[in-house]
Amino acid sequence: MSLSIAVCVKPVPDSDHYDKITIDPKTKRVNRDGIPTIINTMDKNAIEAALKLKELHGGKVTVFTMAPDSAVENLRRVLAMGVDEAFLCSDRALGGADTWATSYTLYKAIEKTGEYDIILLGNETEDGGTAQVPSQLGEWMAIPHMTNIINMTYDEGKVTVERKTDDGSIRYRVALPAVFSVVRETNEPRIPNVMGILKAKNKPLTIFRADDLDLDPAYIGLKGSPTQPGDIFSPDMSRKSELISGEPDAVAQKIIAEIKKTGVIIG
C-alpha cells in the first residue's frame, strides 16, 4: 500500500532576526518589517519524515498551510524539497485565528482535498510556540493523534512511534489514519537541490480562499477564536549593566565578591 501523507507547515519570521521585532506604541501591532519569513524548523522535520515514508513505501506528500499569499514563496521551497503538491489557505477572514480556529481551518482544507493516511506537523512553531495545533487538529479530525514523536515506522496499515516524555519515552502502535507531530531530533531535514528547485516551479500549488472551503464562519479567524488577544508589550528586563574591568584575576575576585554578597555559599 502506498501512503497518502499530509503535512501542515507554517511560515514564521526567521528567529535569527527577532531582535528587529518591535511593537508600534500607537497601534499596538507587532512590527516585523524586514524580517525574512522561513518555514518553521520543526515543520521541516515533519516534511523530511513524510518524504522518508514516501521513499520507503511509495505514495504522495501534500503540504497545507494557513498564511498570507506571500507564503507561496515558502511553499515553492517546500515543493523543492520533494513534496508533491501544496495548498495555501489565505484569506483576511482567517486572520487572527487561535489554535482552535487554526486547526479547524486546516482540518477543513485537508478534508476537502482528499483522504490521508498520515498527517504530520512540527511539534511547535518558533513564533507562537503553543504546540497546541497538532492535538487540536487530531481532535477536529476525530482520529488518533500524538505529539513529541522522535521516530516512526510504518508497516501493515499501522505506524509504530516512539514519543518523548519528560522522563524517557513511550512506544505506541497506532492505527491509521492518525496525526503525529515531530520534534527536531527525529531527523535532519534535506536541503533542496537545483533539480528540486527547477521541478518545484511546475508542481501544483493551489490557493484556497475562505469561500472555497466549506467553513462555518463562526469558527474561523479572530472572531471564531475562543481566546482573544488583549494588550501586547515588550518585557523590560534591563538591569544596571555595570562594567567590571581589569585583569582576569581582578575580575574574578570582583565576581566572587559579588556572588558572596548574595549569601550563596560557594567553594
Binding site: A131, V174, F233, A252, I265
Partner: protein, 330 residues
C-alpha cells in the same frame, strides 16, 4: 454558554516515577494566589489521573488543594494521551471549573489542548504570568517570538479558561497540615479504543539535572566553542556548588546531553540567586528564562551583546580567561 455556572480553579497534577512533579505543585501555589485575588474565593482542586493515587493526597493538600479529584484506574497506569485528555475534559464537564491550569510538560502540552478542543474552549499556552484584572477577568500572559513580545490572552466567552505554564515560573506555597477533601471520579473514557496500543514504556536511565532548586547556575552559549570549553564551565559550576544550565547551541553542538537544563522559552525558566553567563549573546528566547534570577553576571567578547542589557554586571572580554581565573581563585 452560561459562564456563571463555572466556579473554581482546577490544577491538573501530573505524576512521574511515583511523585507529583514540581511543576504541578507550583501551579497549585499559583492557583491559591489566583483564588486570593478573586472575590468569590473559588475552591482550588487538584485533579490527578493515574493508578494507585492515594499516596499523593497529603502532599497536594499541603500545597494548597482544597479538594482533590482522583481519577484512578488501571487503564491510566501507562500514559495514553487520549485517555488522559478525555478524563480531564470529563472532569471539566462534571465539575465546571472556571479556570484549569496544566503544566507545560511534554504530556501536559498534549493533554491540555486536546481537552480544550473536546470542550471547545480556549487555551493559552506557555503562560509566563497569570493575573486577575480589576473586573475579575482572568488574564493569561503569553510570550511570542521567543519572549521578545508578551501578550495578554483572554477567554471571555467560553469556560473553562485553560492555561499552561512551564516549570519554574510559579511559586510553590505551603499550607502545613491542610487536609483536602478527596473524592474519586470515574468517567466513562473510550479514547480512541484499540486504535492506540502501548508497546513499551522506556524510562530514561540518564540522571536528570534539575535547575529548579539551584542557587547558582553557570551557563554557556555558542561562544564556548568546544567540548573542552564546556568542561571548564562544568568545573567552575562544581567549584561554586552550582550547576550548569545550557543554551540551544550547547545542546546542538553536543557539548552537553542535558536537554532538561536548557534555559528559555523552549526550555525551563530558572530563578537562581546567581546566574553566570559565558559567551552568551542573549537572545530573547534565552533571557526570558532568567528574568527572575537574583544576580546576573555575564562575560562576552562582544561589547554590544544583548545579554549585557539584562545583566547586573558585565565583563567585556574572553570568557575563558575569566573562567580560568575563577577556577584558580576558588
Amino acid at each position: 454558554m452560561d459562564i456563571s455556572a463555572y466556579k473554581g480553579i482546577h490544577v491538573f497534577c501530573e505524576t512521574s516515577k511515583g511523585k507529583i512533579i514540581e511543576n504541578s505543585l507550583e501551579l497549585l501555589g499559583e492557583a491559591t494566589v489566583l483564588k486570593s485575588k478573586l472575590s468569590h474565593n473559588p475552591e482550588v482542586t487538584a485533579v490527578v489521573i493515574g493508578h494507585q493515587l492515594d499516596q499523593y493526597t497529603d502532599l497536594l493538600g499541603e500545597h494548597g488543594a482544597d479538594r482533590i479529584i482522583l481519577i484512578d484506574d488501571a487503564k491510566y497506569a501507562q500514559y495514553r494521551p487520549d485517555f488522559y485528555a478525555e478524563a480531564l475534559a470529563e472532569t471539566c464537564k462534571e465539575y465546571k471549573p472556571e479556570i484549569v491550569l496544566v503544566g507545560a510538560t511534554l504530556k501536559g502540552e498534549e493533554i491540555g489542548p486536546t481537552a480544550a478542543k473536546i470542550l471547545d474552549t480556549g487555551m493559552a499556552a506557555h503562560c509566563v504570568e497569570l493575573n486577575i484584572r480589576e473586573d475579575g477577568q482572568f488574564v493569561q500572559v503569553v510570550p511570542a517570538f521567543g519572549g521578545k513580545v508578551l501578550g495578554d490572552i483572554l477567554c471571555p466567552n467560553y469556560r473553562p479558561q485553560m492555561a499552561s505554564m512551564k516549570a519554574g515560573l510559579a511559586t510553590k506555597q505551603q499550607f502545613s497540615g491542610q487536609k483536602a477533601v478527596v473524592e474519586a471520579f470515574s468517567p466513562d473514557i473510550k479514547g480512541f479504543g484499540d486504535k492506540i496500543e502501548v508497546l513499551e514504556v522506556i524510562e530514561e536511565v540518564k540522571e536528570k539535572v534539575s535547575l529548579g532548586g539551584a542557587e547558582l547556575v553557570v551557563t554557556g552559549g555558542f561562544g564556548i566553542g568546544t567540548q573542552d570549553g564546556w568542561q571548564k564551565l562544568e568545573v567552575l559550576a562544581s567549584k561554586l556548588n552550582g550547576v550548569t544550565g545550557c543554551t540551544r547551541p550547547a545542546l546542538d553542538e553536543g557539548w552537553t546531553e542535558h536537554e532538561e537544563t536548557m534555559i528559555g522559552t523552549s526550555g525551563v525558566a530558572i530563578k537562581p540567586k546567581v546566574y553566570l553567563g559565558f559567551g552568551i549573546s542573549g537572545a530573547a528566547h534565552h533571557t526570558c528564562g532568567i528574568k527572575t534570577a537574583g544576580l546576573i553576571i555575564s562575560v562576552n567578547r562582544d561589547a554590544n551583546a544583548p545579554i549585557f542589557d539584562v545583566s547586573d554586571y558585565k565583563v567585556v572580554g574572553d570568557w575563558e580567561a575569566i573562567v580560568d581565573a575563577l577556577i584558580e581563585a576558588l
